[in-house]
């Protein structure tokens, strides 16, 4: 099977030409197979969002190659082969919650009835039924972010790029959302690239955790997660879970030490 994402020697330098330079990505090599769930974890400013954006063809790499589903990232974007959840919700304040979720379906020409039905389903999934007619500014930050997740899921992309989607949620909602996301991932056979700052979240969700370090942004470790499925509340309390959490934490620390 062709990998979903292949990053080969990807570098990204921001600035230059008079402005200060930032090496956001340095020699990134990563291959993501179909139906994997990859978490990116690392200190703030290490280039996680930038990495996601290069996969999405929203920023061009300075050098190196990004291949998505066997084509250039550019072609994959034109084919609408991925759905993205940005770090900020990015909702349209003139659209109700329901119409925000319908946006990608509208763009893709899904008939009105089906569009609405699917949007309602997605809102139920993120526990927002009853808020269809609200406007974004009438929701809390975490609720807005869940609308953005529903919107990304609505058109059932085969590749989901998610940038700290649950960052604004309380611990218990977050755990419920994690379980829900795992279920969706399992049912829809999608591939997920997921940015997070939470080590337990990364371990609970992922097939592999990619650890990054900052300045320059590099991959310092890739940790396979061998927790059995289905993963549930008991998984979070199992000894193996704690071992893996410790392993990721130590990898993160080693990355920071190397920086210092």
């Amino acid at each position: 099977m062709t990998p979903v994402v292949t990053l080969t020697n990807v570098n990204k330098v921001f600035g230059g030409g008079g402005r200060p330079q930032t090496v956001a990505l340095k020699d990134i090599n990563l291959q993501i197979e179909p139906r994997e769930f990859i978490s990116l974890i690392g200190p703030s400013g290490c280039g996680k969002s930038t990495l996601l954006r290069t996969i999405a063809d929203l920023v061009p790499p300075s050098s190196g190659e990004v291949v998505v589903n066997g084509k250039s990232a550019h072609q994959a974007r034109l084919n609408r082969e991925y759905g993205m959840v940005f770090q900020a919700p990015v909702l349209f304040e003139w659209r109700t919650v329901l119409h925000n979720v319908e946006l990608p379906l509208e763009i893709m020409g899904v008939p009105k009835k089906e569009r609405e039905q699917r949007a309602r389903e997605m809102l139920k999934l993120v526990e927002l039924q009853g808020f269809e007619r609200h406007y974004p500014w009438q929701l809390s930050g975490g609720m807005q972010q869940r609308v953005a997740i529903a919107r990304a899921l609505a058109f059932r992309p085969q590749l989901l790029l998610m940038d700290e989607p649950f960052g604004a949620l309380d611990e218990l909602t977050r755990e419920r959302m994690n379980a829900e996301l795992l279920r969706i991932w399992h049912e829809t056979k999608t591939t997920v690239v997921f940015v997070t700052h939470s080590i337990p979240e990364a371990v609970f969700l992922s097939t592999r955790v990619v650890v990054m370090s900052a300045r320059p942004g590099r991959i310092t470790a890739i940790i396979p997660i061998d927790l059995p499925y289905p993963r549930d509340v008991e998984t979070r309390e199992s000894p193996r879970f704690f071992e893996l959490v410790t392993e990721v934490r130590e990898a993160l620390r080693r990355g920071e030490e190397r920086m210092a």
Binding site: L58, R77, R80, M84, F86, I107, Y135
Partner: protein, 260 residues
Amino acid sequence: MTMAQSPAQTLARYAPQITVFVAVVIAWEVIVRALNIPRFLLPAPSVIVAALIATFGTVIESAWYTLRNALLGFLIGCGAGIAVALATARWATVREGLLPVAIAVNSIPIIAFAPITNNWFGSNNPLSKVAIVVLITFFPTMINTVRGLTLVEPAKLELMRSYAVSELVVLTKVRIPNALPYVFNAFKVCSALSLIGAIVAEYFGGPRKSLGVYILQEAQLFRFDNAWAAIIIASVLGIAFYLVVLAAERKLIPWHVSVD
């Protein structure tokens, strides 16, 4: 998202404004009488009301002529402003060349051209007044609309980029809705400007039955109570026009939070 209000609630809501208005009118009456202020300086409200009743037919006839010019000018000026803004939204170079010029023109007192347009069309021709109103309303509308079309949150454009949509879709789904509050702000400013423009242009010459000429002549004939009665009608028209724009804004963009 205001709830429907009963008349009593509406009255209660506007109680402060009504109280202030009534207090000002009473104070005006009392002060004018107590200090024996001569009529040509400031007539008492009761005197103005009496003059208004006596001259109502003439004043309304004159006001209708002026209001027609103001409305027609407003429609043409604002319409053209929006049309030009939409056209330049497509071509960044045209926009960047045009905008500074438009801002410069907008800061000159266009009303000073009134004698010129009077000369062009003839001061008894309504077009001479309509032209001034068109000029006065065109620039703020165009400038504001261009701002609304271009000052879009970059994240929204990035989201649309991830959907790989054409510029036309970005225009209809993002730029135009984003511009609506800006356009309505322009309408609010222009509703006042258009009446001011139409009346002041008439001060430089116009038919006998127009608000500007009427106010000017009554003042020259020392019939200040009549002049004041006409000014009251002009004010009522101005406020009514503004309120109509405000109502349209609430109806058409209910999602806009800063509606005041």
